[in-house]
């Protein structure tokens, strides 16, 4: 794999994912420091609402709704899903109690990663590999030499393409597990 693919695409992806982790830790730390741990208990609600709102893009993409600019909705989808995930992660608070909500948290995290793969890596990486291929061909390299030079880039791209396919199935798992958690809260918690 060439350093350019790593530096231009995978590194920003890692940084954005790291930012999510750092923001989670910082939020959790602040809540503890300010003696506001109880606030974290309620952050699951706005987090869930933001994730639900982010699905407007998915509805638009599948033509369930006709209104809205798909590009703007995609940007909103990325932003609100990232922020919603952050709130849910702070809500989870790195405290291990019940298994079901943690499975939901893990599936959500996998979902975020697969979403970031789609956002940051896949399209740009395709363009990058195609550009490299064309460049090598113009410079007179044989087809075998081009394939050999781009071998690791192609392998990485293939892995990312498969990873992207996880996004929808793991989202369904996340929805079901999160619903289980939400139902159990409604069932057992006294809201009034």
């Amino acid at each position: 794999m060439t350093t350019s693919l790593w530096r231009q695409h995978i590194l920003p992806f890692c940084l954005l994912l790291g930012l999510l982790a750092a923001a989670t830790l910082a939020g959790d730390y602040l809540l503890h420091r300010l003696n506001l741990v109880w606030v974290g208990r309620y952050l699951g609600i706005p987090g869930t609402v933001l994730i639900i709102i982010s699905l407007i893009y998915s509805l638009r993409k599948r033509k369930v709704i006709a209104a809205g600019n798909p590009k703007s909705l995609l940007t909103f989808h990325e932003f609100s899903a990232w922020l919603g995930s952050l709130l849910v992660l702070i809500h989870a608070g790195i405290h291990f109690n019940a298994i079901l909500p943690w499975l939901a948290t893990v599936s959500m995290s996998v979902n975020v990663v697969s979403g970031l793969v789609g956002k940051l890596l896949l399209g740009q990486s395709r363009r990058h590999v195609q550009g490299e291929r064309e460049d090598l061909q113009i410079r007179g390299f044989s087809k075998f030499e081009v394939e050999q030079a781009l071998f690791w880039d192609a392998v990485t791209l293939d892995a990312m393409t498969k990873w992207r396919k996880v996004h929808i199935p793991i989202f369904i798992v996340f929805v079901i597990l999160a619903l289980g958690h939400i139902i159990s809260i409604f069932l057992f918690w006294g809201w009034v």
Partner: protein, 250 residues
């Protein structure tokens, strides 16, 4: 999504659902129960009413309000009660979860030290020492009861009392409370508790200045500084109690 993936996901979700019903204490309960309720581990509805949470009625089934703090649910007397006398009988209403929780994970979210004293009957709420140990510092060792003079029931700190408002404890006046507040009576004070101020010396100094009413010292003197003298109708005839002190304004 291919069929194999769909099947794998469906099977996993079914297994998880089954586990929720078999092991609710592991799958959905927010942490372990307190040791005393361990036998209720798998019986969530022993305490929880569907969609309304933990109701006092369910707690009272086992914990009779009249016995709380006196008898165990088994009927045995409590060897070392946490408070003496017990106070649950003096609560205005039975709202158990306002203070108590059983799950380890929920305890983490409870605001520590946030007992709502408004739940107590008036007479009980002022008997702080029944539940709270007095601080062991030199200041509080001198004081018995009547915590509300300086503290609210909302927060221990900051205190509501600002001594500087009445008299600044600067210089030689940064001394023991009982020097001025005899018998820990903070509603009164005297300035004759030290060698510096004797009734005779104070009287002489004030008469020399033509001041006859000098019973309530802090009416004019709010600090040790001789130049920091406030109003006070010192020219009038003696109206005070002749103690070189007086009653605090509050």
């Amino acid at each position: 999504m291919n069929n194999i993936l769909k099947t794998v996901l469906a099977v996993n979700l079914i297994v998880i659902t089954v586990l929720v019903f078999i092991y609710p204490q592991l799958m959905i309960a927010p942490g372990k129960l307190i040791p005393g309720h361990k036998q209720l581990d798998t019986d969530c509805f022993a305490c929880h009413a569907p969609f309304s949470g933990v109701t006092p009625e369910r707690c009272i089934t086992c914990h009779k309000p009249a016995d709380i703090g006196r008898l165990l649910t088994t009927g045995q007397p409590i060897a070392k009660p946490l408070t003496s006398p017990p106070f649950h009988q003096q609560l205005l209403s039975q709202d158990c979860v306002a203070c108590h929780t059983d799950h380890a994970g929920v305890i983490r979210f409870m605001q520590q030290g946030r007992f709502n004293h408004a739940l107590l009957q008036k007479a009980t709420s002022v008997q702080c020492q029944n539940c709270h140990k007095p601080p062991t510092d030199s200041l509080h060792q001198q004081i018995t009861g009547n915590c509300a003079q300086c503290h609210t029931q909302e927060k221990w700190v900051p205190t509501t009392f600002n001594h500087t408002k009445y008299f600044s404890l600067d210089g030689d006046h940064n001394t023991r409370c009982v020097t001025c507040h005899v018998r820990n009576d903070y509603s009164r004070y005297t300035c004759y508790g030290c060698h510096e101020h004797s009734p005779e010396s104070i009287r002489r100094e004030h008469i020399e200045e033509g001041i006859r009413n000098f019973d309530n010292c802090v009416a004019c003197h709010r600090s040790a500084s001789e130049h920091n003298i406030h109003g006070g109708d010192g020219k009038g005839e003696g109206e005070g109690e002749g103690e070189g002190g007086g009653e605090d304004e509050d």
